[in-house]
């Protein structure tokens, strides 16, 4: 009984969070699909300003990314500073397989090519999502293979390098031996509308787009929880807590880390495809170091290793970045007659939040039980140490 109680509590907690997530998604979908089109201008204005559906859909993409990184950083404890590379790779898979860009081909596999733009490759969105995930997983393997024998700072630096190399390749990939691979800084535009077996999700079908990316995020949440609770997940957590002890217990270190890197990359790939569909294209300018850091901050602030903590962290930071600061700024300026450009203080507020979190709640908004225990252990050890030192000094 005592052994099953924590597992039962965790399952119950997951169920509650899942219901909460589903409720929020259902609320915004139904609201935007059926209620807001008929509501008064004021109501429409309020929701468009504070909870714009485009921004809500973007938040779902950030959740996907953060959950992908959480597998690498939160579960396996590998510091990855170049996760944006996987976002870029996923995005370009969508660009290659859902647009007229590769014009020397004319392939349409259940795709939705626009009239007059039939050249190029047009695959069904499900296939592109799968291929996006597989492609980034392969890149996770290619990157992870030679680097995962490194530890801590060294690994972080190598991932940082890859996080710079891949976006730079995308930016300069308009002429690789005479071949235009990425269209360079011009990016790839004109992505096909999603066609779900006859039901076309067009440019203005925002509720459907939101639902689509929410389902993707929901699936990622489900897999993240299942993975963590499985054999592989427990091996990751063991490595994260104590690599030497895990190795002594028979956990194959390199292979287990390798899996985390490849599986974590899938989140980036699928999110990259989803984001490209939302924006209608893929543009190399987006993929910079700051994005990697923001995703990492979402994981750390939310609660490393805790799926729901990461979801909350990603939601809060993505909302602040997208509309939160602008709206709060407008509210303050209108209320007090000031003229403060709130978004320009974003990094100041962001930095302040990080410092405060590290000082008062290092384990994140919603910490994972193990991490909370470790943090508390450290605190207790520190207190013991101080107490011992005081004793020695007084003697």
């Amino acid at each position: 009984m005592t052994n099953t109680a924590p597992a039962h509590t965790a399952a119950s907690s997951n169920r509650k969070w899942a219901i909460g997530f589903t409720t929020v998604v259902a609320f915004f979908f139904l609201l935007n699909k059926f209620v807001l089109p008929e509501a008064s201008g004021q109501v429409q204005k309020f929701f468009n300003a504070w909870f714009s559906l485009t921004s809500m859909a973007e938040i779902m993409i950030w959740i996907l990314m953060a959950l992908g990184l959480n597998i690498i950083v939160g579960y396996a404890g590998l510091l990855d500073l170049g996760y944006v590379a996987f976002w870029a790779l996923g995005g370009y898979v969508a660009g290659w397989l859902m647009s007229p860009f590769l014009s020397s081909f004319q392939i349409n596999f259940f795709g939705n090519a626009r009239a007059g733009l039939e050249q190029g490759i047009h695959f069904h969105v499900f296939l592109v999502l799968i291929l996006g995930g597989v492609f980034t997983a392969i890149w996770g393997i290619i990157i992870g293979g030679p680097t995962l024998r490194l530890k801590s700072d060294y690994l972080a630096l190598v991932t940082l390098g890859f996080g710079e190399i891949i976006p730079q390749f995308m930016l300069n990939g308009a002429d690789i031996g005479g071949l235009n691979v990425t269209n360079g800084s011009q990016g790839i535009g004109g992505l096909d509308d999603v066609n779900l077996f006859g039901y076309v999700i067009g440019t203005f079908a925002l509720p459907e787009k939101f639902l689509m990316v929410s389902l993707m995020a929901g699936a990622m949440i489900f897999f993240s929880i299942r993975l963590r609770d499985g054999r592989l997940g427990r091996a990751w957590l063991a490595i994260r807590e104590d690599e030497l002890a895990a190795s002594m217990m028979g956990v194959p270190l390199w292979r287990t880390k390798f899996y985390s890197y490849a599986i974590g990359a899938v989140g980036g790939g699928i999110g990259g495809v989803g984001f490209a569909i939302l924006v209608g294209g893929v543009y190399a300018d987006r993929f910079n170091f700051v994005i990697s850091i923001i995703i990492l901050a979402m994981v750390v602030l939310g609660g490393m290793g805790n799926v729901w903590g990461v979801v909350v962290g990603a939601t809060v930071l993505a909302w602040i970045n997208s509309i939160g600061l602008i709206q709060v700024g407008e509210l303050v300026n209108n209320s007090f007659g000031t003229d403060i450009n709130f978004p320009s203080y974003q990094f100041l507020l962001f930095g302040l939040l990080l410092v405060l979190m590290m000082l008062f709640r290092r384990e994140g908004f919603i910490p994972e039980a193990r991490i909370r225990m470790v943090m508390n252990e450290e605190k207790t050890e520190d207190l013991d140490k101080v107490s011992d030192e005081t004793k020695i000094a007084s003697n």
Binding site: R15, K16, F27, F47, T54, P100, G116, L117, G189, F204
Partner: protein, 412 residues
Amino acid sequence: MIKSIKIGALAVSGALALAACSGGGDSASEVLVVGTDLPLQGASADASKSTNEVVALVLEQAGGKAGDFTVEIKEYDDSTAAKGAWDDAACAKNAQDHVANTAEVAVMGTYNSGCAKIIIPVLNQAGMLMVSHANTYPGLTVEWDKGEPGLYYPSGARNYARVIAHDGFQGTAAAQFLFNEQGVKTLAVMDDTQAYGIGIADAVQIEFERLGGTVIRESWDVKQTQGYTATFEKIKASGATAVYYGGIFDNNGVQLVKDKTTVLGDNTAFLAMAPDGFSGYPTLREMPEAEGLWMTFAGKSLDGIIKGGGAPAKFIEDYTAKYGAQPNSSYAVYGGVAMQVILKAIAASDGTRQGVLDAVFAGESLCLTAEESISGMGFCLSTETGDVDTVTMTLQQMLGGVETDVRTLDIS
């Protein structure tokens, strides 16, 4: 568990009911809105602020009206502080917001061509007019890259116009000036690896090679912190006698200009030329290494507008009186010109989006006379491409720390 589900269901239904009870459909607004879509964060923030002020002043001087319609402005920000520049997600969001705002009939912007690529197709499907003051990427209106410009117009009809000549013209003018007037036969063309820079460098290269010259193509990467002396050494060895900086000064231009002088000598010893991406930067003006730099500006420079006198100069005076300083850049003035086009289109319309769009793309070309335009340049917009029919290219040279107008360039 059941309790949780009940609470969730109650919350959803309660919120939906609350929203639904708030009223029925909104009646059509009598005030028409023009959206401005600019990057209000990061390096372009000052230029965008100035552009918004010019646009507001144009509307104010028109009495807040276009024909019989009352017009208001709504400012949109297509940048994020996190990026410090235009952001693709912000552009996609703004595009949807423009369409969702039923009172909005046209958009003035964008500043960045990359952002325009995202917004144009969305507005196109909603039948909304967009007029840019600063997008110079040619492919937005004319055949340039694969699938362009059709890629941006899913409905098959045009909805995008711009009041400034595209890079094809600026690159052509620069190449002809260097080859025909300066006698340059081997030219080093550099780009900053970004959309604008590559576009304009391509245009220079194409025209220079067409004239019979030889082009040495190089790039400068903004992240290359160790500088560009190695690249300039390569240019020196190639036999080039001039260099063209295809890009914007923001992209590590200080280092670029310094390294060029170190390796190749000053601009009298080794000629250098830049597009309008180097225009309007006080830092560049203060650099001794920039002395003698040739520049082009697609349109009339601010200096030229003031010296031209008349109504345009008066407008700059009014702006200065109201905001305490001159407009930040010539692009800001062209923002006002784009607003003038939109106001004229609204005045000629029935107040609907389609009516405003038709005023530019159906029937006769919409024109601004030199007397009407706050830039002092008259033009008509092509109903086929949305481009201006009159191209004025100003040749400038940095003399004594001032971007001095030399003359206008003819493009053959």
